[in-house]
């Protein structure tokens, strides 16, 4: 059955509540993506499958944001082991590109949302 945007968001929310990150896989072209659409942005197929992510990945790029009146925060793109990427914040860290990170959920004004932290015993990147 074709996914609806509401259905996707319901799936995401219920998984976030259980601490699980999710993504979408296209059955036709194998594209994996995080930002929810009811059609594949690569091939247009509506044959899509909702999937659970391991929540583990690496830092694709990062920047420490210095803003007036707000504590410094690391804004980043993280690449999950399943191949999709998303924007996020990485907690209290001095990451490098390639650093290993894992997801955790934090309560925000939009409900539980995925944030990331460094995996402490991971090997140094490169």
């Amino acid at each position: 059955m074709k996914l609806t945007l509401n259905g996707i968001m319901e799936y995401y929310r219920s998984h976030f509540d259980r601490g699980v990150l999710c993504f979408i896989r296209c059955d036709d072209c194998s594209n994996v993506f995080y930002y929810p659409r009811d059609g594949c942005p690569r091939c247009g197929s509506v044959s899509l499958t909702l999937c659970e992510s391991s929540g583990r990945g690496t830092v694709f790029s990062y920047t420490k944001v210095h803003r007036k009146g707000v504590p410094d925060a690391v804004y980043a793109i993280v690449e999950l082991d399943e191949g999709f990427r998303l924007y996020t914040n990485i907690e209290n860290s001095e990451p490098s590109v390639g650093s290993h990170v894992e997801v955790f959920m934090r309560e925000t004004n939009r409900g539980k949302m995925p944030f990331f932290r460094m995996i402490k015993d991971s090997p140094d990147p490169q």
Partner: protein, 392 residues
């Protein structure tokens, strides 16, 4: 010498203030009147309008209902051709192309191209234009805001910072190479009377300016200002400049940056291919400079060097008007300021001044061809390549 039936730029003007106390409409009116006067075209002969706007830049208003209507009502333009583009920094270049097409097709005789507004109105609300949803929750930035807008960012700075960081990781690009680009553009600004920043600048000063989003420093970023650029494209106006569109290309990407194969390549790689213009025939380059890294990405994407080669190119090249690669010859938006968070007008204006011999103090001798590239949109989704010069 003007050949019969040519669609060319007949007038241009700009007004830039660090902070303009009056209304955006007032500043717009002043800029338009100056442009029309420059062109020699009678005001009531203007029958076309192309424009653009971003939230907040018209006196803080989020949205102007029927925007082109409001502009025409204020200015007094009875039109038969009207368009509104929203490519951010790339809009100005598309306006010129579309205006020449409209005039050539007989849709209008004199098309006014207008862009700008008041950056100060957004700044005073403590946000950037890419964070305007913080002022008005009725604004969305992407179709995915419910999964995006819960994080601390400072876009567009943080977005370009991610690119600069990754560029350094992949290619070893150094902070001092980006700083050197800022220094070289400032050198060009020293000879530009309209530049906002005209004090000599050193690499050390750039690198010791406050870090906004690492690795990007404050002096690597444009400063949003109040101002407008207007250009008039006319059929057979007596003052038509000998400036024609020689090549053109657009690229509008749909991926969010995390969804791209990599973030170090911009749509300029595609728009420049579409324009397909021989770079050795170019006399000056005006490349969009929201940040130092933005220019470096375009140096690679339009083909002046290979991907990853920009740091070295910046070190080895003379970007001055008499140099081997005259680049952002008026100092660019980094030194002119960025009117209303989109400075495609700054680079286009400089190209026109160079081609018409008006670039006093910084003239590229015998400049006949200017290569202009604009980048805009949320997280770099649009690029427009426009090559203008002596009609062939």
């Amino acid at each position: 010498m003007h050949s019969f039936d040519r669609q060319l730029i007949s007038g241009h003007s700009l007004r830039i203030h660090k902070k303009f106390e009056g209304s955006a409409m007032e500043l717009l009116g002043e800029t338009v009147r100056s442009c029309v006067e420059d062109s020699g075209v009678k005001f009531d002969r203007i029958d076309g309008l192309i424009t653009t706007y971003l939230p907040g830049v018209f006196d803080g208003k989020t949205y102007l209902h029927f925007f082109t209507n409001q502009l025409r009502q204020y200015l007094g333009i009875r039109a038969r051709f009207v368009e509104c583009l929203d490519f951010g920094g790339a809009s100005a270049l598309s306006m010129i192309y579309r205006a020449t097409k409209a005039v050539a097709a007989g849709e209008a005789d004199n098309v006014l191209c207008v862009l700008g507004g008041k950056g100060s109105e957004v700044r005073s609300r403590g946000v950037t234009v890419d964070g305007f949803d913080g002022v008005d929750p009725g604004v969305t930035l992407t179709p995915f805001d419910s999964l995006l807008r819960n994080y601390v960012d400072l876009n567009p700075v943080s977005d370009y910072a991610l690119v600069a960081q990754r560029h350094s990781f992949l290619f070893g690009t150094e902070d001092r190479q980006r700083a050197l680009l800022a220094v070289k553009q400032r050198k060009n600004a020293l000879n530009n009377e309209s530049a906002l920043y005209r004090d000599p600048l050193t690499e050390e000063a750039v690198l010791s300016s406050p870090m906004v989003c690492d690795p990007l420093h404050m002096l690597e970023a444009v400063y949003p200002v109040d101002g407008f650029h207007t250009f008039l494209v006319s059929r057979n106006s007596p003052r038509n400049m000998d400036i024609d569109v020689l090549a053109y290309g657009e690229a509008h990407w749909h991926e969010l940056p995390p969804e791209l194969p990599d973030i170090v390549t911009t749509p300029a790689s595609e728009s420049s291919k579409r324009a397909n213009f021989e770079l050795s025939k170019v006399d000056c380059f005006q490349l969009y400079d929201s940040f130092t890294i933005t220019v470096m990405l375009q140096l690679e994407d339009i083909g002046l060097t290979k991907k990853g080669g920009a740091g070295k190119l910046v070190e080895e090249s003379d970007f001055s008007p008499s140099g081997d690669i005259p680049l952002n010859t008026g100092g660019g938006s980094l030194n002119m300021g960025q009117p209303a968070y989109m400075s495609g007008g700054v680079i286009l204006e400089e190209a026109i001044e160079q081609l018409s011999g008006e670039a006093s103090g910084r003239q590229v001798q015998g400049a006949k061809v200017a290569y202009v590239n604009g980048i805009g949109g949320w997280n770099r989704s649009h690029s427009v390549t426009l090559v203008i010069g002596e009609p062939r």
